[in-house]
Symmetry: C2
DNA sequence: TTCGATTTGTTCGTATGTATT
DNA sequence: TAATACATACGAACAAATCGA
């Protein structure tokens, strides 16, 4: 029982994809916020007029994309970036030994600037649009390991201040989420090796010109909308970037 | 309040996990080889005495892990590394522009050696066990970009020769699979920045001491068994390592 | 502490649609 | 065209976990 008589419509998505999209729209609209539970499967199935099995299939995909999490006996919850489990989700620097250490942050500078160059193009901003430019050092085991330059569009993060950033409880993505309702669900990173610039070297207490790992990251929220551009410089004398690959070639998104 | 009166049994896996494991054992045993179709869902369900739905759920997980692929109307096939689609599956070097270029290979050297150091420990070999040591250069757009040192246990690749390697049709993983029945399904990479060694610099036509991206890779087959250790040195002047993250924190495997 | 309501997890079954050969 | 195989959708029943009364 295909529903529409197909007036030359889109490829006639399966029903569960349709349901998934409707759920996504609810998430984007903020109908259910991170940390909160969405309605029960029974209730959602009724709301969308589908069987529980079909509803489950839609939620299955959101779970696979880590957009929501299921807890048996409790409910299905919108993913948060403040939980321990998520803390390391986008954090791939490990000590050469292999152990993950608790990081500490040091906010070096915070100022307003104008978008330009790669930051502008990756964030899909016009040249000259206002952005924040943030410099931050991350330490592991008390040694500076990562020097970050973060670019954020002012439009998406109104009234962000240095003290808000410095006083945040969890990760910076937790702050995006808690204060601005922006949920980072995907990042794309491009890595290369280069000599550390004087600024990067200073932040990492490294000799200028020493080889360092450069990571250019774009963070995306729903619908592949870029929200953060970040250039990280990593001292890989004692640490490495860990990449485990075995599944999930960029599938799933960008269909509708 | 574990349910079992503790017959010391495992946590009593769900049925579909059990079925998945049985399928895995069949794959490992070579009952169905890469490129071949496994029996139909209907048939497998009968064989394992479960419903088609349960059988499908087991296969779903194998599909998610890219161990098999479904083709509607045709069947379910064991994943191959020779298909175009899989060609770039474990290949993450892209030109700075973004496009992926067709690579060409040049086999520099091939010799037998004894395992030692990190290669031995990562491959879970005793020091001194026989290995092959292979040096290879990969070119993109006619320029040398990646210098590889590959270590393989002789025990798993008996009678491998230089000409076999040089004459291979597709990727090196395709050769592992076609000739030795070894199916690489997962790799783990650790990246750092360092000065290129003289050997690496020579292979890449680079000045010695220039910063380069170092990738230490371990390739695994079923049951997390390591089969290849590889140190790659990448000239990132014109190319970058691309890492897209958004799902699938190492879940799925390693259960029993 | 126990109990019961709620919610997700697992398993079964059936019917029908769609792609391949 | 017909047979086969996977894809989608529905429904039902019970198990297991959670949480509050």
């Amino acid at each position: 029982m295909r529903r529409a008589p197909a007036g030359a419509h889109p490829p006639a998505n399966p029903l569960y994809k349709e349901v998934k999209n409707r759920l996504m729209r609810g998430l984007v609209a903020g109908e259910w916020k991170p940390g909160q539970a969405i309605p029960s499967e029974w209730r959602l199935a009724g709301r969308y007029g589908v069987s529980v099995g079909t509803l489950r299939r839609a939620v299955d995909e959101l779970v696979a994309e880590k957009i929501v999490q299921r807890r048996q006996g409790s409910g299905t919850f919108v993913t948060t970036h403040t939980e321990d489990h998520q803390l390391y989700y986008f954090f791939h620097i490990v000590s050469t030994g292999g152990g993950k250490e608790a990081p500490t942050h040091e906010l070096l500078s915070f100022r307003r600037d104008r978008a330009k160059g790669e930051a502008a193009s990756q964030l899909k901003l016009e040249r000259g649009e206002p952005v924040y430019r943030i410099h931050n050092v991350l330490k592991l085991a008390d040694r500076p390991v990562i020097f970050d330059e973060i670019t954020l569009p002012v439009a998406r993060f109104p009234d962000l201040t240095k003290s808000l950033l410095a006083a945040r409880a969890g990760t910076i993505y937790g702050l995006y989420q808690a204060r601005y309702g922006i949920n980072v669900i995907r990042i794309s990173e491009r890595l290369s090796a280069a000599r550390a610039s004087s600024r990067q070297a200073a932040g990492l207490q490294l000799r200028e010109g020493e080889p360092a790992l450069i990571i250019k990251r774009v963070a995306y929220t729903y619908h592949d909308t870029p929200v953060e551009y970040r250039v990280s410089c990593v001292n890989t004398a004692q640490h490495e970037y860990l990449s485990d690959l075995w599944k999930g070639a960029p599938a799933g998104a960008a269909e509708p």
